[in-house]
């Protein structure tokens, strides 16, 4: 089958982020992901788009964030594109276990109230890629379909 693709564009306004989340939720549910996987993927898309608005655009409103939902034979691929400041090269190379470290001995006053978004994406998605041309930044997230879900995406396309 050929891939199925839907393109969305929102402005860099945090109030618009739930729209992308709700679209992700519905499409993942239709693709056969279970309720928890659907929630997790919605969460990752929300984190990715929020990162574009808060970090790439530093909260400036009215700038474009584009999201492609691409359903392939064996995976669901999501691309989040912005035209703001690029992410540091090592952001995706950080050790997740350091960010989500054992908190049993942790002093509460040392807990960070931010900085978990990318690590959540890395922990949940099967593959995460990032590229920047200087003008355009693209974060690609992939979640593999279970075999029976892949059948759903088969010859009917």
């Amino acid at each position: 089958m050929g891939e199925r693709r839907i393109h969305f564009r929102i402005e860099s306004d945090l109030d618009q982020v739930p729209l992308i989340g709700m679209v992700a939720n519905k499409l993942c549910s239709l693709a056969g992901f279970d309720e928890m996987q659907t929630y997790q993927i919605e969460l990752c898309l929300v984190e990715a788009v929020t990162n574009s608005i808060e970090h790439a655009y530093e909260g400036k409103p009215g700038l474009p964030v584009e999201v492609d939902f691409i359903l392939q034979r064996d995976r669901f691929r999501f691309t989040v594109r912005d035209y703001g400041r690029a992410m540091a090269h090592d952001e995706l190379n950080r050790d997740i276990s350091e960010i989500f470290k054992d908190n049993t001995e942790c002093a509460i006053c040392e807990l960070s109230s931010s900085g978990r978004g990318l690590a959540i994406i890395q922990a949940i998605m099967d593959a995460v890629f990032y590229s920047s041309t200087g003008e355009c930044n693209v974060l690609v997230l992939e979640k593999l379909l279970a075999p029976d879900e892949s059948e759903y995406c088969g010859d009917s396309a």
Partner: protein, 111 residues
């Protein structure tokens, strides 16, 4: 997203409804901070009607916990849905928040 506040004596119950995320986190702060400023240090966040939470939602709860912990207080979480509990466990924040299946259990834990 809406936050309602219920005064249970020394315990303040914040019941959150809807999505607790980067666009709504400020509403949570607006409900919590006046209470913290007037000396309340014992809080229960009722999560039973939270259908979605992200890292910003976690962030405001952590920020609340840090604020009251300095004054000898605590923030306890009540009735999180499976999806919310999953995120608390993924981020290991279940190790710093006391989490209760029942709202009344969370309130009574301050007794």
């Amino acid at each position: 997203m809406d936050v309602t506040v219920e005064d249970k004596g020394k315990v303040q119950v914040l019941s959150v409804n809807g999505r607790l995320d980067s666009s709504s986190a400020k509403k949570f702060k607006a409900a919590f901070e006046p209470l913290a400023k007037t000396g309340h240090v014992c809080f229960v966040i009722n999560l039973s009607d939270v259908e979605f939470i992200d890292s910003a939602g976690l962030g405001v709860m952590v920020s609340a916990l840090r604020k009251v912990n300095k004054k000898g207080g605590d923030v306890k979480l009540a009735e999180p849905r499976d999806s919310v509990r999953m995120l608390l466990e993924l981020t290991r924040l279940h190790q710093v928040f006391d989490i209760y299946d029942g709202l009344s259990d969370a309130v009574e834990a301050f007794a």
